[in-house]
Structures are given as structure tokens and as C-alpha cells.
Symmetry: none
Subunit: 207 residues, 4 copies
DNA sequence: CATGAATGAGAGTTCATTCAT
DNA sequence: TATGAATGAACTCTCATTCAT
């Protein structure tokens, strides 16, 4: 699907180098998170990282290349977090509930990561696509497993996966990113979303 | 809710002025759509509009002010389009289906508008919030009317509205913006989304 | 021959603009002459010209573009000087003598111009070629006229033109550029070169 | 004349060192030839040579010092080539013809060497002067020998030497460096130049 | 002798904005 | 209202050189 994605980074040969690169990536997360890609400056990133300006270019070809490498990194973090959250759970609805809860908590705790990933749409569309396509594809896999197990309808596919992902992302935007306090509680939000996934909105038919 | 929103534009006094301003807004739509806010330049916008660089500042205080005025404009266009699409329809599910179809068509035909509005998240968060809050609020109104009419559950609120909006937006991103050809057809997508809204994903219980 | 040569300059629309551009070209001649292309800096050029740094880019796309425009300018100056020097002279040998004298004087008085043009070989080979090809072509025309008039052999062509040009250029380098005082006098040099052109080096055959 | 020329190179003590130094000089020839002095980078030279960046400074004090050492080397190569070409020939005119032919062939086969030496004019004028002064001085010696032997006029000196050298260099530039194919053949060029040296351009006087 | 990470001065270039005409 | 020349702060990126290992 997205196999040709290239991340250009000069892999450090020494452990000192590995440490410096990590410092740069962490500093970049803070800088991009606070100021956004365009207002962020390479010199500010190196200052935060405590290295000289030129050192930046020992590891990255450009500010864009760093951004791309960072998104790749963060995308993995986001997915690891989700995987961890649903590990061990078998019930499909419960899985989706947990996944959303985890996302809300993660977004709330790491607003800057959410922001950075979303800005990729305008900085590096390819990596942005990579991220959301990968996430959607995992969701679809979950839905289809549940379909085969008889818990969900058997005919769900990519469209439902994107619908669910969009739901989650916008709930995160509204209630985790924009909102300072968790009100309504994430639990309630996840409950309501879960009910929507399970039964839709139609009024229960009589009997 | 979002009443304090201020749009600073010098309203032209003459009809010649009104024409110049319109030329600038149209040129800005093309420029921002093609290059994004940061790569767009005021001088390129005036060149596209066929006016001198200095003329820009007769109408707008700054590049940011133009952007904000433009989003306000586009936000209204998007909402008008949706209103027109559902006008005269009574059935709540059909309304949502039509709204999504209209959005997919609009996004597909005006990719640049979609892009510009979304970039506002990183350029002028206030107007971005204004846009999506307004849209969500309309959706919520629709859902609650349907609830009172007994067509939908009676307890739906903001959370469901944001969930629906997110669903629609991401379906638009994936199938209208990214995809060149309408495949699957927008009709099918709207159908599937509609089914999800109506019944959720749970497998139909026996009997 | 060299018809596709492009000089990218933004022609000023006002007389104020024309003056500023002239100031920049003159400042550039001084700067490139003293420091050479690579050590010259745009900011130093604008400082010499007494304008702001940004003003430079109102007229030239880049430091390279300025250089090219400058060579074009200087190339014309060099050729005008030569034309003026030989104007009115009919005798082919006298023409060549005068042309060399003029070149020696010009090079001596404008060492920086000589230097700038020659550096073009490494900065913008195309314009360098343009310059020397044009000069050679003028020399060839002169030689061939003289050939038709019976003053020179009738079979001279491009090769002789380049040979003569090379002769002149190196005499200029050695005795006008490198040498502070005109010793031997330019007159003597031109005389000797003239004798070489006329009769070559072979010892006069008896009688 | 040019006795104070200093070439600062750390002579390697071991044979491994000698090999590394040779690799660096060869890599530098390629790099300077392809990119020119200023665009050439030390790190690219070491990469071509297959050694680490720091190793460079074990052998050369600076990029400039390397350049100077290289010109010195190349200058010797050029002169050896010329010496070999004229060895054993006694006739002064034939000597000059052979010398030019050899130069054309050498320049054609080693365009990069020609380029590097000429760029020295703007990088290290002293070594540039050294090179051309040395060459001119050899030519003058040849001419004066021929003068004493009665084959050439007896009053030729430095001026004629520089004139001849300039002729050769520009014929090389035009017909060996710029031209991909040898057309006209080097033989023809050398013949014509030889005729110019022998008899000049004047039309043969009657009888 | 060899390595490669680290340095930081310095360069070219962009562009929103101002303002005299 | 329209023009376009002028401004200068701010930015990204390069690369010769150093030095600890």
C-alpha cells in the first residue's frame, strides 16, 4: 500500500551520536508542538537540544526531513499506545471502547503530538496519509475479525473503518484537545460512542 | 457560543473597490489552495488578482487578516451548500445521507476549499473552531429534532454530533479529496454511513 | 551562434528604479573586482550601493544573475572601447596595433574588469564563452576584410582570430595586469606583436 | 624569478601514508575538475578518496594548501608532457608545432587539469603566475636558441614568448576544451599556427 | 595514522509591510 | 484608490576546521 515511504536520516555510527539524535528529536517534538512547523526554527531546536546549530545537519538533511522522521516516530508511538490499550481484550465492542478511551487520554496528555501529526497534512502530505492509512487499516482488521466471529456484521470494510476513525479523531479534537478539563469524562464519551457503534441512532423499535 | 469572532476588513466604498476586493479574495482562494498559507505570498496573490502589491493593504490589514476573512467566507459557502442539499427533506436518515453526499461532492469539486479550511487549524485556530463548532451545532440541532420526533433516540447530543461530523469529514478526506475518481461511488459511501448511523455495527439479533 | 543567451533582470519601471539598479551594478563591479565572485557578498554590494539588502532582489534573482548581467555589461564596454580605438583607421596592421594598445591601456586602467570577465570562466561559463566568441568573431571579420583587400593573406579564418586574441590577452595579463608600471611601454609591446603578425618569427631570407 | 614559492605538505613517513596522500590528490583532481574550487568540498574529496574526513588534515593544512600542492603537481605534469613531445626534434618550427599539438591533445584528454590550473588565477594567484611564468620562460629559451642558430630572428624575447603562449592557450581553450570532437583536426590547427609563427599574416610580396 | 561527531561563523534569499508618488 | 520601490529582520543551510577517541 504505502511501501515506498522514505525516511532520510543519517544513522549515527556511535552511541554518542545516537544520544544526540534522540535529543534533537525530543527537542523537535517540543518546538513543533509549541510553535507549529513554520514558526519553529532549526536554531531553536538545537538550542533546546543543547547542541550547536550545525550539529542538526549531521543528522537531518533539512527541517522537512526532520519533520518527516518525527512523524514516523510519533505515528509509531500512537499506534503502540493503542495496541497496548486493547491488548488482552476479546470483546469487539470493548476493544473499540478501550481504543477510544486510550486515544482520548493520549491526545489529552500529548496535545502537541496530536497537533504535530495533523499539521503534517500541510507540511508532508505523504507521511500524513501514511499515518492515517495505517491506522485505518488496523481498525478495519479489527472490525473484520469481529465480523467473522459473528459479533459485528460481516460486511464491514474500509468505509466503516474510516468512519470510526473520523469519529474518534473529532471526539479527541473536541473533548481532549480543546477542552482543558475532562468534562464530560472520557468514560462517558467512550460509552456514547460505543452505543453509536453498536446500535446506531435509530430509536429502539417497540416490544 | 462563538460570538466574539472579529473579522477585520475594510469594506470598500465604491463599486470599483468592491470588484478589486472580490478579485483579491478569489485570487487568495487559488493561491492558498495551491500553495498553502505559508508558501502563499501576498505578492503572488496580487499578481493573480492583477493589481499592484500595495493595493492589497487598502483592503486587508495583513496576510492573516485576509486568511481569516477568507475562511469566514468559505465557511458560509460550505454551510449554504449543505443547507441547500437537505432543504425540503423530512426524513432524518435521508437528511444525513443527503448531507454527506453533498459534502462529498462539494469536497471533490472544491478540494482547495477543504484544504484551506483545514489549514486554519494551524494558522488561525479561533476561526477553525468557529467553523467546526458551527457545523456541529447544526448537526446536533438536526439530531435532536429527529429525537423529539421519535425517529432517533431521544438522548442524543453534542457527542453524537461531533462523532457524525468526524465520520463525514474523514470519509470526505479519504474518498473525495485523496481519490481522483469517485470509486466507490459517493452514493454507496453515503449508504454505508447511513446504515451505520441507523443500526450501528452489531450483527442483527436472531428471530 | 550564441543566440539563446538569457540575461534575467527585472527592468525598473521608474527612473528612481533605474538609478538604483545602476548603483548596484557599479557597486558590484567594485566588489567583484576587489574580492572575486566567491568572496564578494550581496550584503557588501548593497552596502556599497547604499541601499538595503532586500533591494538587491528587486532587481536581480540571485548573486549569479547579477554576475551574468554584469559580464554582459562589461563585455559591451570592452568592445566599445576597442571599436572606438580603431575607428577611422584603414590599414589592417595599424588596426591590430591600435586594438592591442587600446586593450593594454584598458586592462591596465580597469584591472578589475579584466579580472571579473575572466572569472566568469568558473562562475558562468556560458557568458564567458559568449564574450570571447564575440570578440574572436570581430577579429576574424577584420582579418578577412584585410584578406579581401589584399593586405593579408586571403585564407585566414577562425583559427588565426583565436590565435591573435590569445596573444593579446596574454600580453595584457603579463604586461598590463601583473605589471604596475608600463615597462616595456605598451607602444613597444604593440610594435613587437605587430611585427609578429606581419612577418612571423622566421629570420629574413637573404638578399 | 619565482623562487620563494612554498608548498606546505606533510610528507608521509610510511608507505601506507604515501598511498593515502596519493588517493587524496587524485580525488582532489576529480573533485576540483568537476565542481571547481569553491563548490568542491573537503568532505567530498575524502569521500571520493575513501578515507575519513579528519584524515585530510593529517596531510594538508587546509583546502587551499591542497589546491596549491595540486597545481604544483599538475604544472609539472603539463611541462613533462610538453618536454617529452618535443624531445629529439631540432627544427625550431617543428618544435613549436609539436608543442602545440601536444598541448591540444593533453588539454583534450585532461580538460579537468586545464580547468584547475586556470582557476588558480582566482584561488592562488601566486601559483598561477608561477605556472605560466615557468612555461613562458621555457618558450623564450627555445625561441632564443633558434635565434642564435639563425632559424628565427635574433631579437625575440619575453614578449614573443608570451604572445606564443597566449596563442596556444586560446587555441586549446577553443578547439580542445570547448570542442568535443577534434574538428578541425589538431594537426590542421597546429599547421596554421605554425604558418603564422613562420611568416605572419602579410600577403606574400610578389615575385 | 585514522575516525567521524561537533562546531559556529557566515552566506544567500524571502517576503510582509511601509510609504512617497 | 492605486502603484511599485524600498526595507530589514529572520530564516535555512553549508562547510572548513577541530578534537576526543
Amino acid at each position: 500500500m504505502q511501501e515506498k515511504l522514505r525516511i532520510d536520516v543519517r544513522e549515527p555510527r556511535t552511541s554518542r551520536g545516537r544520544k544526540t539524535m534522540r535529543k534533537l528529536l525530543d527537542a523537535a517534538t517540543r518546538e513543533f508542538g509549541e510553535r507549529g512547523f513554520h514558526d519553529a526554527s532549526v536554531s531553536s531546536i538545537t538550542a533546546r537540544a543543547g547542541v550547536a546549530l550545525g550539529t542538526f545537519y549531521t543528522y537531518f538533511d533539512s527541517k522537512d526531513a526532520l519533520f518527516r522522521a518525527l512523524i514516523f516516530d510519533l505515528s509509531q508511538q500512537v499506534r503502540s499506545d493503542a495496541s497496548a490499550a486493547i491488548a488482552g481484550e476479546d470483546d469487539p465492542l470493548a476493544i473499540e471502547r478501550r481504543a477510544l478511551m486510550a486515544f482520548l487520554r493520549f491526545a489529552s496528555a500529548h496535545k502537541e503530538i496530536y497537533r504535530i501529526i495533523d499539521e503534517a497534512e500541510f507540511v508532508d502530505p505523504e507521511i500524513y496519509r501514511y499515518h492515517y492509512t495505517t491506522v485505518a487499516s488496523r481498525i478495519m482488521t479489527r472490525l473484520q475479525s469481529a465480523g467473522q466471529a459473528g459479533a459485528f456484521r460481516g460486511d464491514v470494510g474500509e468505509i466503516e473503518a474510516w468512519a470510526l476513525m473520523g469519529m474518534n479523531v473529532f471526539l479527541g479534537l473536541r473533548f481532549a484537545i480543546w477542552q482543558e478539563d475532562a468534562d464530560p469524562p472520557f468514560q462517558d464519551i467512550a460509552e456514547i460512542a460505543n452505543r453509536l457503534i453498536e446500535r446506531g441512532l435509530a430509536a429502539p423499535t417497540g416490544s
